[in-house]
Amino acid sequence: MAAVDLSDERLRQGVGPRAVVGLLVDRVRAGELGMVPVVAGLVVIWAVLQALNPIFLSSTNLVNLTMECVPVGIVALGIVCVLLIGQIDLSVGSISGLAAAITAILFVNEQWPVWAAVLAAVAAGCAIGVLYAQIYNRVGIPSFVITLAGLLSFLGLQLKALGTSGSVNLPYDSALVRFAQLSFVPAWLSYLLVLGAAAGLFLVGYLYARKRRTADLPARSLRFLVIRSAVLVIGLGFAVWYLNRSRGVGWMFVLLVALALALHYALTSTKWGKSLYAVGGNVEAARRAGINVRLVYVSAFAFCTTLAAIGGVLGAARLAAANQSSGGGDVNLNAIAAAVIGGTSLFGGRGTAFAAVLGILVIQSISSGLTLLSLDSSYRFFVTGVVLLLAVGVDSLARRSRASHGR
């Protein structure tokens, strides 16, 4: 094939499983670790916590764990976008708290319909992101400072809004609270979703491979696609079966996965996604390539703060209350840490949507495991800090290895 003839003769080409394994080993040596360290870290953490307390890997606890992941996980998805363009948002915690307060006040005190209250909170979050980007584009203040100011200001706004009582309870029978606490996917539907996911993965892979073959490009074999889907069915099927022994898979967790999949598609298969990576990699090159860099900043910041608001609303729904500590404490740092632990670079241009999901699983596992051991939050902060340092350390070593392997 002409296409392959053109590639450099120095490029080693191989066929068969041995070559595939060899290529994988080469990639790990060269520092192209991808998701490997996070998954390995998650396995180690789960093994240790299970050894310390056998309840940890019980269905009930894992169901709780998946539900706990969602609010901060959604915030972390937004953080990934902002980190990709080489910026940061330190105010996601305050924004999620403010969104929780807006929802609760409009819904409970002002008697708005629940959808309108949620919509207003999310719109406020979106507006904050647009404001950040405008300040960044027009005044040129570093995003670190803009969002630090946002962190303080919106925390103040949240406290002011909640007033002297400092807390608004959401009624337990409202749709919002029921969604966050009690709505689970029926067992039959959960298995159907697993099968659908595997079939979808296979179909997308098959159509893509066929298209590549007709264009004379190397493509993945049918066997690989079948095995990949089979592994997905078995892995996901087992997880769902295990969760179904308790309450099952929460709709809220399905929402997190759906958002992650949507973001993954947007990042890898749309012009917008590529422009985020380009701006994070080399702003000047992106500008010269005709990308509207200002618009990229606006969209990324607005996306991040919108997701922060959604995460805040879900957090309040899960707690059935918005109070002065909503979005406070560790929401901010956990969201940023989740994105970074998952392998998103703080310097921009590297990261994936799944990074946030894996990262938040790590963080919530630590949190849940240590709570089961009835250790207080001092240990939780300490252990999370060490894990964060380890994760970034592995990434830095991988980057050095990449540099020395010329990648």
Partner: protein, 263 residues
């Protein structure tokens, strides 16, 4: 007939006349090298052509029609592509993503396959060898990056390609690779404008050498028949530089010394 013809181009920055009455002609399948010392106006001329600066005076004709180039996008639409010295590539993106950056096919559902096929086509036009197109640009050598940048400029099917110092900071073998690329561009019928400081590179690929000096035309030479010394003389302004002045001075001193020992 020349694809691109500049007549009497002038550009002032405040009190500084960066370009005064400059003429330039580029044919299809012709490589024109623009040479000159620092501050001669080479970069300004390129920026006028690529639409970054608009000229204060003079006429630009493209394929016989008189045109104005108000911005980079307009230059691109006309068919003038520029590869700047810093290449402007994103190191974290792979070759395909860099080639199509800002001009992706079907923005909401990127057509990976079509872009990869077109990437190979472009690289084949240049007979360029890259290890793979799905490799991040960070993994490529300087010459390979130059290849990617030139291939990207070919994407809009331009008539004229402007290369700003394409061989600066490249090794011997990589320089040869890039010179091969320029030969290929000429064979494919593109007009090439190349800025360079390197006299041997200029003489290796250029058909015509345009010398600028202090913002003015200082001569147009046929690269095949002109010696490097003549070109250097035009660049430095023969008889008007420190070297020749000193040589002339010492000559007069010698002569006067011999004539009668007036000292």
């Amino acid at each position: 007939m020349a694809i691109l013809r500049l007549q009497g181009i002038s550009k002032n920055f405040g009190a500084v006349a960066a370009l005064t009455d400059v003429d330039l002609e580029v044919d299809a399948g012709q490589v024109v090298a623009i040479v000159g010392d620092n501050g001669a106006g080479k970069s300004t001329l390129v920026k006028v052509l690529s639409g970054v600066h608009s000229p204060d005076g003079g006429r630009i004709a493209f394929e016989g029609r008189e045109v104005t180039i108000p911005g980079p996008a307009a230059a691109h639409r006309l068919g003038i592509a520029t590869v700047f010295q810093d290449l402007a590539l994103c190191e974290n993106l792979n070759v395909i993503e860099n080639l199509f950056l800002g001009q992706e096919l079907s923005p909401f559902r990127l057509d990976d396959v079509a872009m990869e096929v077109r990437s190979w086509e472009l690289l084949r036009q240049l007979s360029a060898k890259l290890p793979a197109v799905r490799l991040p640009v960070a993994a490529l050598s300087g010459g390979q990056r130059q290849t990617v940048a030139i291939a990207r400029s070919l994407l809009g099917d331009p008539k004229i390609i402007i290369l700003d110092e394409p061989t600066a900071a490249l090794g011997v073998a990589q320089t040869a690779e890039v010179l091969n690329l320029i030969d290929r561009l000429r064979e494919n019928g593109h007009g090439v404008v190349m800025i360079s400081h390197n006299m041997s590179d200029v003489r290796a690929v250029a058909d015509q050498v345009v010398v600028l000096r202090l913002g003015r035309n200082s001569g147009v030479f046929d690269a095949r028949t002109t010696s490097s010394e003549e070109i250097v003389a035009a660049i430095t302004g023969a008889g008007d530089n420190a070297v020749t002045q000193r040589a002339a001075r010492s000559e007069t001193v010698d002569r006067s010394g011999m004539a009668g020992g007036a000292w």
